[in-house]
Subunit: 349 residues, 2 copies
Amino acid sequence: MSLPQTFASRGPRIDAMQYDNWSEKIFQQMREGGVDAVHVTIAYHETFREMVANIEAWNRRFQRYSHLILHGKWASDIALARQTGRTAIFFGFQNPSPIEDDIGLVEVVHSLGARFMQLTYNNQSLLATGCYEQEDPGLTRMGKQVVREMNRVGLVVDMSHSAERSTLQAIEHSERPIAITHANPAFWHAALRNKSDTVLKALGQSGGMFGFSLYPHHLKDKSACSVQSFCEMIARTAELMGVEHLGLGSDLCQDQPNSVVDWMRVGRWTLDVDYGEGSKAQPGFPDQPAWFRDNRDFHNIEAGLHGVGFGAQEVAAIMGGNWLRFFENNFVPAKAQAGAAVHPHEIAV
Amino acid sequence: MSLPQTFASRGPRIDAMQYDNWSEKIFQQMREGGVDAVHVTIAYHETFREMVANIEAWNRRFQRYSHLILHGKWASDIALARQTGRTAIFFGFQNPSPIEDDIGLVEVVHSLGARFMQLTYNNQSLLATGCYEQEDPGLTRMGKQVVREMNRVGLVVDMSHSAERSTLQAIEHSERPIAITHANPAFWHAALRNKSDTVLKALGQSGGMFGFSLYPHHLKDKSACSVQSFCEMIARTAELMGVEHLGLGSDLCQDQPNSVVDWMRVGRWTLDVDYGEGSKAQPGFPDQPAWFRDNRDFHNIEAGLHGVGFGAQEVAAIMGGNWLRFFENNFVPAKAQAGAAVHPHEIAV
């Protein structure tokens, strides 16, 4: 089979976190930016049934924009996307709300395509503790059971919004590597959402993945952050935990109205205003840095990584090669991963 | 690959309808009876969320009894089941209640494994009319839309419990063949659930499938029905609509308490008692005929079919070959069926 030039000439570009106001324009920008795969959020505070309604909306997009995107279920769908000039869209939850109090839903949501699930979103959940709580008692009884079931079916534990002790316990308790899909190191920019050296080291030693965020509240100097500062931070993180554990998770929230960041922060859990990482003076979405406005700007990061001294193979690994390997190993059921007979019989709609 | 003797020596045995009180005993009996695939009901009146809870219960059975059964999603799973000495379990609904009023759920339930959906269960539904209603206005506006969507994703229309006009309209409106998974001809035993010659002919001419029921209320002489009478009826039906459109759909409800038949009949739609096909004198499950008590008795039907003059190939077709061909053609999305590129990448849990 003859492949488009781009397929042969570079490795995959994978973004492990976006929550845009989805439109043909954005999918077209993914193509212009050469983005082969994106992990998108389909639940912040949604119940199971509400999350299913979000899948229904995605199914309509997969039909309507079938020339631009496809539903990514397995790592091999990224190869299919590259061969057909499209972007593979993988589903994930930023909160365990879609499994409600029912561990049986873990396998069900995996059947529906969920591939990442955060154990917490800022607050205490049924499973673990979020990064904005005062106390962090660690994984709950149900949390330990759910992590084991996630390991079995191939649903990746994501601790991006979790508190420190819960995160370390998740790394310890999980039999398969976990991910922090979108955050930055606290050594570079101190924020409750950014991660300590302790977490970064434990994550790397356990074979986990860390995705660097482009969300201004996670950046040093926020919207004014320079691409050089961002890439120097990546170089320091590579020294701390190994370049093979690093990728991107931009947290791009393109074209979203501020009502959406309100929903993320407030959900249905409070009657008060909660500004999250923002403030009364800056309640809405902050401006993106000039060098990363949308999916067409990944080349700026690629150039920046070369500029701070990464070699070509390292740059390719950070831009998507590491995520591709992680997807290959961690989306399949544990039984399949262990070398048991697999049965390739699914047919894409 | 070397196959067990049974795989080489006979065609598949497929039962297109059971709703047993599932247990290891019953799965063991499926193996003893050489039953390669069973279409099981996972919803009578359940909402979407309640149906998902039934899938969760099946997922636990698939884990616990993995030496006896596996989740059948595609026709090729029947070959896998035969190669590994197990029975493939396919999901279906006897009522469209799990899709609620939401056409987007058609694709979602197909993703979860649903392969048959009745448009009605005895009563009027949002989609069509059941066989116990006085009036039969035919497919509704939503019914026509849902049939088209079922055709697209590969969810088979089943009219077993539907009224005559609705059934004929479903055959006419559906772009892919439909099924009547479990019923008998009215010419043999007049019952509201049994089907007219008009329906049988239209079903055969459209490439559809008819599954013969072993439920005593559908049998001439009910529990006292003889296997010879049953097989003579099959021979007459073959003359009417062609042997290639015939299979079995036993409607076996083994080990179920009578509370279950109450749920089937009454659901949540009435506060009165409804005896359905039963009566005040015989309100519960009737006794099975002596020659078909459970999954170990399919050989009695096979012998009976030989006894009324069917040839070996015809018997094999009725015992499962016809259903296998129907599963192969009708569970895959229309796009895949039409010869578009398919992408075998699913991995069984």
